[in-house]
Every structure is written in C-alpha cells, then in structure tokens.
Amino acid sequence: MAKVIVMTSGKGGVGKTTSSAAISSGLALGGHKTAVIDFDIGLRNLDLVMNCERRVVYDFVNVINGEATLRQALIKDKRCENLYILPASQTRDKDALTKDGVERVLKELAADGFEYIICDSPAGIEHGAFMALYFADEAIVVANPEVSSVRDSDRILGILQSKSRKAEQGERVKEHLLLTRYNPERVEKGEMLAVGDVEEILATKLLGVIPECASVLKASNQGVPVIHDEESRAGQAYSDAVKRMLGEEVDHRFLTPDHKGLFQRLFRRSA
C-alpha cells in the first residue's frame, strides 16, 4: 500500500521543496520506492532543487491530460536508485489539476509498487495546495519558528482535518510538524520561539527540527538534496526525521547551542 504524504505549510518560503527533496531522498536511500510530485503548477522548482531540470520532457499535467504516460514523465533520480520525480507543468492554467486526474496518477503510482508518494504543495490555500493535500494519508506541516508561519500552519491543519478526503470519510490525516530554520542561539536569548512553544501552540507531534544551516543554501545551489551532505547538521537532522517516519525512535538533536569553549572563542576561525 502506497502512503501519500503531503508536504504543506500555508506560508511560502519555509522549506517545503527543500524538505520534499531531502525526505524523499532519505526514504529512497532507506530502500523504499518513492515518488515525489511537484504540485506547484506554473512555478516548478523541485526539478531545480533535485538537479533534473534539464531532463524534464513531460510533466504532471501532460500525464493528467493523457498527452504522456506516467512512465514517460517520471524522472529517475541520479543519486538514489529508488527515487522518481514527477515535475510540475509550467502552464499558467491554474485549474490544470483535476481531482480525478490527480487520483488517477496516485493510483497508477501505487499500482506500480511505489511505497511513498510525497506531494510537494504550493504555498497558499488555493486550488493547487488543495489538490496536493486532498488525497493525503499523512501530512508534514513545515513551519519556521516565526509568528506568520505558525499561524498559517494552524490554518492548514484546520483545512487538512476538514477538507481532505480522509476528513470527508470521517477519518483524520496523520499530522507531523517539521520545524525548519531553527536557531538555538536565538532561542536561548529569548529572541525566537522555542520548539516546545510551537509544538504547544499547534498541538502536533514533532517529526523533526532542522537547524538553520549554511548547507541548505549550498545544497539547493548545487541541486543536491541536503540529506546527502552527511556532515551537515541539516542533513543529519533530515536523516533523523526520515528514521522517525520509518518508525525508529531517534532523539532530537541540534536543539541547544553548541557552546564554544573560551579557547575556541578567542581563536575563532572565520568559517
């Protein structure tokens, strides 16, 4: 049975695509056949973050319209054996995604033996975002420790539990909170919401905390999902999150500042 997971947030720019790329890569590295679908019609970017932008021939909308087969449109990732990317279309027709069309594609992926289907939602609460979350079994709500992002996350949680297919059937979409761009130094100074505060406000189970880390920009610059950067804190935090998704119990890391000793402070290198 394929598990459909939507990566959503309401607010833009919080790290949905970065997280979709990292987590789908992580699942595939763990041996699970995974597809990641870009639902941001007209503003496709997952292809760029995953470095397959020059291999896009057909897209999601082509498949829905019957202009290409799913097999023709899926792009096999060059780094992970079990990972396939379905790029968004660059059409300006916002209604190109239909419920029937999306359902057909998801069913075909499931029949093809895909275990995980990650739906990378566009920002906002318009049609595209609705299509990305409608068929979800689970949702990863990506938030930054910042007021507008937390408020929008709560709004999205409300929509998930009222407008999704699961909600229509009287069931619940399983929710996970992924807090990104976390800065423990600023939290310690009282300048930034702590992870516990966000958990308390949203009342959602924490999947992971991704520390603010230079490696994230470096990764998107190069088109290598940050989870492949095993040395980086963000990469390790994403790996932990994937392990938790697969049922392992892993302690949260990088929640407190790593206090530099006096010696390191005095001879701080400009890294």
Partner: protein, 82 residues
C-alpha cells in the same frame, strides 16, 4: 541574583510575546473554524431584524455556537445603546 544571572539579565522578551500573541489568535481562529457556515448569514439576518427596532452598530451583535457533548448552545449577544 546569582553570578550567572549577571550575564543573562538582558534576555529578550520577543519570543514570549510572540507565543502569547499566537496563542490568542490561534484560539480565536479555531473557535471560528469549528462553527457552521450558516452562522454568519444568521448573524446578518438577526441584525437586520434588531435594526428595525433599535439603531445599533455592526459590531454590537455577537452570535456564537458552543458545543457541549451532545447539545449545542446558540448564544446571542446584543449590546443596546444607552
């Protein structure tokens, strides 16, 4: 005051302000979210009726639906001018 407090006396209040503001707005929005869609229309209709008799502002009427287990209470609050 301990020795260490001397160094942390300038801890910012920003995060706690953010948390408090978020808790209020999120609770407010959740209470609205759980209400049936007809409530807004009902509020408008009730207001039109009250206005036939008393001159009141838009915000001096409040309609709320509260659910308690297997029954619900429709609360109507009209503030009449002095």
């Amino acid at each position: 005051m301990s020795f260490l407090d001397y160094f942390s006396h300038n801890k910012s209040q920003a995060a706690s302000i953010a948390k408090e503001r978020l808790q209020i707005i999120v609770a407010h929005e959740r209470s609205k979210r759980d209400q049936p869609e007809y409530l807004e229309a009902l509020q408008k209709d009730i207001m039109a009726v009250v206005r036939k008799y008393v001159d009141i502002d838009t915000d001096s009427i409040e309609v709320q639906l509260e659910r308690n287990g297997d029954y619900a209470v429709l609360e109507l609050n009209v503030m009449l001018p002095d």
